[in-house]
Amino acid sequence: MLIENYTPFVGRGDVEEIKRLADSIRGAKVLHVNSTMVGGGVAEILHRLVPLMNDVGIDTDWQIFKGDENFFRITKKIHNLLHLPSAEGLDSREILTFHDYTCRNLGAIDTSPYDVVFIHDPQPVGLIIKRGNGQKWIWRCHIDVSTPTESVWRFVQTFSNGYDGSIFHVPEFISADLEIPAFIIPPSIDPLHDKNRDLEEDFVQSVLSRFGVDPDRPIVAQISRFDRLKDPIGLIRAYRIVRKTLDCQLLLAGSFADDDPEAVQVLEEIYAEIGKDPDIRLLNLPANSHLEINAFQRAATVVVQKSVREGFGLVVSEAMWKGKPVIGSYAGGIRRQIINESTGFFVHSIEGSAHRIKQLILNRELLEKMGRNAREQVRHNFLITRHLKDYLMVVKKLLKG
């Protein structure tokens, strides 16, 4: 069984519990619906979770809600307006387009054979109209809707209120006026994914050498999109403070789509800030460079996630899984992953970041102890097996009360 592959990470007991839990709801048919098969965290997690649910005996399908560029432009706007309050709203044409695509998908997606239907994010939320008698529908919201644009939240609520329940990453992401039950299920990482699986030391060294990173000097790394909200400039300034007294290198690695004009501009700003410093490596990698990112995280001495604003920020758990303490800002899901002074440090300024980077580089004992705690924190709370268990529990709760 596929699930057995996780025994080395979580132990035989945990795997057995998952199988027993699945046995208690055997026969249930489950459907997941989202709007893309590739790209983004939701698709990535479904690629791993759907096979695992089937593997433990829960008949699970995954269907895609289809739209065109215009529809996705509107749903991107909905996403942004749910995320932050704005004076803007949806105009009547946008609302009609949303309804039009909902109607088209009502015919294309057959939800009738399923006992439990998971609808991911706002794009397919209107499918609730199809809910049949005895079915349980759950809205899995992957975004922070704690401070939404009122009119857009009301629009989404006309659908979400029809669900039997919802799932959010953390309670802080939930709007105060949510009217349906909400489960709290944080996202997870897969230890068998290329991003996280063990790597041969030779491979790690070859990646460092390919990208001109010196393996013999401390490496401070941040892996993130080129986005001002990730505060790469702030990190460069923190690194410069550290460099006044300590020899180290800074690695900023990420990727962006070529058609993202803002990312291009941010990249230029970062280059300007770096100037001629030969010890800062700025790497714009192809989106599927999982093994390279994995190698950088493993080679890093200290990993930083200095975001100003963050969704869940699973990259923190990815680094922690590799035994790295993470220095992070107190933003979004980062504050759920780092346990301050145990698995890393929370920082609130450039100077604070510099102070913690220095501490960890200079104190190997502290670095190793925090790294061990960090890996255990992920093993205990942020692996895909916990995620699978949580989903099975939700299915059981919905079906059996």
Partner: protein, 209 residues
């Protein structure tokens, strides 16, 4: 001899919809909270961070400390849910601390989100009829199972003991039962506790043998 069925406790978190940011609202919420909510913040929290020696021992205490209410954080941190066999008794202690803190309407820096543990118990398909098979099954079980039988058993049994010790006594293993009862889960992580219990069981088994 009575058989011992190995079980495990699983849970998923549910948000109660109760979010407070003043001491008075917090007190009201504690007074009204159901057992699964208190269980989540006191017991599940202990399980979640079992591998650390945390500064504060429960999420209430953390919340107080985040807002600079260090005295309350420390008073809450000393609450030992394992000293009780009923959640209502823990609730009474919490309310007493809050009553002594007095009335206060000042807003905290961040709200506290009350959550509950939606719990389920599964049988692991392993049962023991004697010490030998008990040791074998115990070795195969995970720490969720350990938590169910060793920690949350106190609330179920309403007595300061645990499922293992209860059964071992019926099997005539009073010495082993008492040694397991004497373990303090606050002092070690659950992997260590499992190792200690396994040693106690194996030593006891050899002495009998």
């Amino acid at each position: 001899m009575k058989r011992f069925i190995f079980r495990s406790e699983l849970w998923v978190t549910q948000y109660t919809g109760i979010r407070v940011d003043t001491l008075s609202d917090f007190r009201r919420a504690i007074a009204d909270a159901d057992d699964d909510t208190l269980y989540y913040h006191l017991f599940r929290n202990m399980f979640e961070y079992h591998f650390l020696i945390p500064t504060y021992s429960n999420s209430f205490a953390y919340w107080f400390s985040e807002s600079g209410r260090y005295i309350l954080a420390e008073r809450f941190s000393i609450i030992d849910p394992l000293a009780y066999t009923s959640l209502n008794d823990v609730r009474r202690e919490i309310l007493e601390i809050l009553d002594n803190a007095g009335e206060e309407r000042r807003r905290f820096k961040t709200p506290f989100y009350f959550r509950r543990a939606v719990r389920d118990v599964v049988e692991l398909g392993m049962e023991a009829r004697g010490l030998k098979s008990f040791i074998k099954c115990f070795e195969s079980s995970g720490i969720y199972s350990l938590f169910y039988h060793l920690v949350s058993a106190r609330l179920r049994l309403g007595a300061p003991t645990n499922d293992y010790s209860e059964w071992l006594r019926t099997a005539g293993q009073d010495g082993i039962a008492s040694q397991i009862e004497a373990l303090n889960p606050w002092m070690f992580d659950f992997y260590e506790i499992k190792r200690f219990i396994l040693n106690i069981l194996k030593n006891g088994s050899e002495q009998k043998g």
